[in-house]
Symmetry: C2
Subunit: 370 residues, 2 copies
């Protein structure tokens, strides 16, 4: 039964959620996972400086966080070499994407993305009545030309791309992204989700003028910084657009503990680099395990590896179920042809070892290979 007081838009929305959390799966399984490698969290944890800052802030948690997020915004602006007028901080990239969609998308507004790209963005577009238009991936990567062609043709307000890519793990070079920015149609905005930026190879990210009105970039403390459970993300973009977030955001939504943890994290330049090194080694290890099982790991610029299971989505799903049953939490892309893959987070050694042990068993259980 639906509540009769919902708006027509809210009443028409599906009750589904973008992702099932590992805790819900654990409750169904009746035991905790041995390896938590499904949500692209950073198993090496946050910077010790961030842990200490959060512990200290816990005692001060009786005070609301600064609604202007002054110190953290200043630190982020300094990190990006721009003025803080270009920086908005919020409850993860998810929360900020929701606000951006709210600001720019109304009933019927066209929005362009890729088939199989980030479901939470689609969730927000649907949630505000937008019209989601898609192009397929090409060679397991978002197709910049097709995206921009569609945006032009459909008069899309937003064009979404994740770079590095989620769920496939590859990335487009700086020149390609720059060409995308140049191709943004009048009245449109490129939504550049760089959640995995800190894990990308040196020199692989585009230089973009924060004042460029054609693009807004999103970053997060959830991946390389190991603070997914703190929920802090930010966007860097043109000042008038960034200022507009103040019209709709939950001004006291970013608590004191969250601000303190993120501030300490961005102050520790070494930790994300150290994590990036461990991630690279873990990706190698996951690749080895995949190849040993006769599967093909895709190249990755992120903290996960998509593994091509070589058959269709139903087969990959059986492999994934086999891994879950063995206490190894992984996820997989939601739609074909990406869903021939499973997606494994680059985590600490013991977790990756548990995956490597479970994979051949799960594969065998999934059925004979062709």
């Amino acid at each position: 039964m639906t509540d009769p007081r919902l708006t027509p838009l809210a009443a028409a929305l599906p009750a589904t959620v973008p992702f099932t959390g590992p805790e819900a799966l654990e409750r169904r399984l009746g035991r905790p996972f041995a390896a938590r490698l499904g949500a692209n969290e950073s198993g090496w944890g946050p910077s010790p400086r961030a842990v200490e800052a959060m512990s200290r802030a816990a005692r001060d948690a009786w005070m609301y966080g600064d609604p202007e997020v002054n110190d953290l915004r200043a630190a982020i602006a300094a990190h990006h070499g721009c003025d803080r007028a270009h920086v908005v901080v919020g409850e993860g990239i998810d929360g900020l994407l929701g606000l951006l969609v709210r600001l720019t998308v109304g009933p019927g507004t066209a929005v362009a993305t890729s088939v199989g790209a980030y479901p939470t963005f689609n969730f927000h577009v649907a949630g505000f009545g937008g019209r989601l238009l898609t192009v397929p991936y090409r060679d397991d990567a978002a197709n910049p030309e097709a995206l921009m062609g569609l945006a032009q043709e459909a008069g899309a307000r937003l064009v979404y791309i994740a770079n590095p890519d989620n769920p496939m793990g590859g990335m487009h070079g700086p020149e390609t992204i720059r060409r995308m920015v140049e191709a943004v149609p009048d009245g449109a905005l490129l939504v550049l989700d760089e959640a995995y930026a800190e894990l990308a190879p040196e020199g692989s990210l585009p230089e973009i003028d924060p004042a460029d009105p054609r693009v807004i970039r999103f970053r997060t403390f959830s991946k390389a910084h190991g603070l997914a459970g703190l929920r802090v993300g930010y966007a860097v973009g043109p000042a008038p657009l960034v200022a507009a977030f103040d019209r709709v955001r939950n001004h006291f939504g970013l608590g004191r503990v969250a601000q303190a943890g993120a501030l300490a994290a961005i102050g520790d330049r070494d930790w994300p680099r150290e994590v990036a090194g461990r991630v690279a080694a873990a990706r190698e290890e996951i690749g080895r395990a995949a190849r040993a099982a006769g599967l093909r790991p895709l190249p990755s610029c992120t903290n996960f590896v998509a593994i091509d299971c070589g058959r269709d989505g139903a087969f990959a799903r059986r492999v994934l179920e086999g891994l879950l049953a063995r206490g190894v939490f992984v996820r997989m892309p939601g739609v074909a042809p990406l869903d021939r893959c499973i997606r494994v987070t680059a985590g600490p050694e013991t977790a990756v070892a548990a995956f490597a042990t479970a994979l051949p068993e799960a594969l065998e259980e999934a059925g004979p290979s062709d």
Copy 2:
């Protein structure tokens, strides 16, 4: 300059924010406040058990929080003696009010509240294009009959009341609230903001069936629990309405640290009671200081005292400015006739003492009494 890609609704929204944070005032003053008594925070801090839980969770902050908020919802449901299908947890009452408004209010939808009631609720109603209709306070309290009369007449979808009241501090008894619930017109919903519930006198809160489709109650960990900086609030209401929040909420928005802190807080029955006792003593002390300065403190069922400065809003504003200049952060209601008062949080002894010292000086500076 406004971004040209905003929706017509977003483009029409004011750039103002509901509240200026004390940190922004401190930056303007150039020094920290000696007494932080403006935001109705709990200066005695959170339960030591919550502090410990947050510190422990800080190390685990690399994991997203459970998007179903299972354990915390179960604890809240047990606390209220209801099923968890009646409980939704979110980023403070502010965040939940925003979601409720989004679910139920579209362009032109009528919403009823009181002149001078919670500005953040109004912010959300404006933010979704609702039509805000108001009735004045009567005797420094929301006027239930007038609110319900307006709701009936205007076909309001939502009717907002805070009980205990913010910013004046009084409350209506259980019978009055029950009569309000009975008077909710068809198709409307009573939005019962009980942020200060744990500080109200024993037996003063109404019993309401969580399944009653006419009302949704809001509670928070920001006041008696001393966790304003963690940002956790919840609503108890009819299951179909509660389920609808899943259609629009930021599913991973409530982090692991926040969930851990709130779970420990609700498990500590003694702390909010202990705090309520200290709050009552601090209220007395604030009342004494007000009377000693020739002012009238209003009765309070909350962790603050509204003090009638005896003249108009301009005068009270001067008193407030004098307090701020002396390092004492307090706030005041935004509109007449409530704005003849200043609002002082019941805090620890040293903070209240700083207020008591500054008040006569601020009063004298504010100008001759009539």
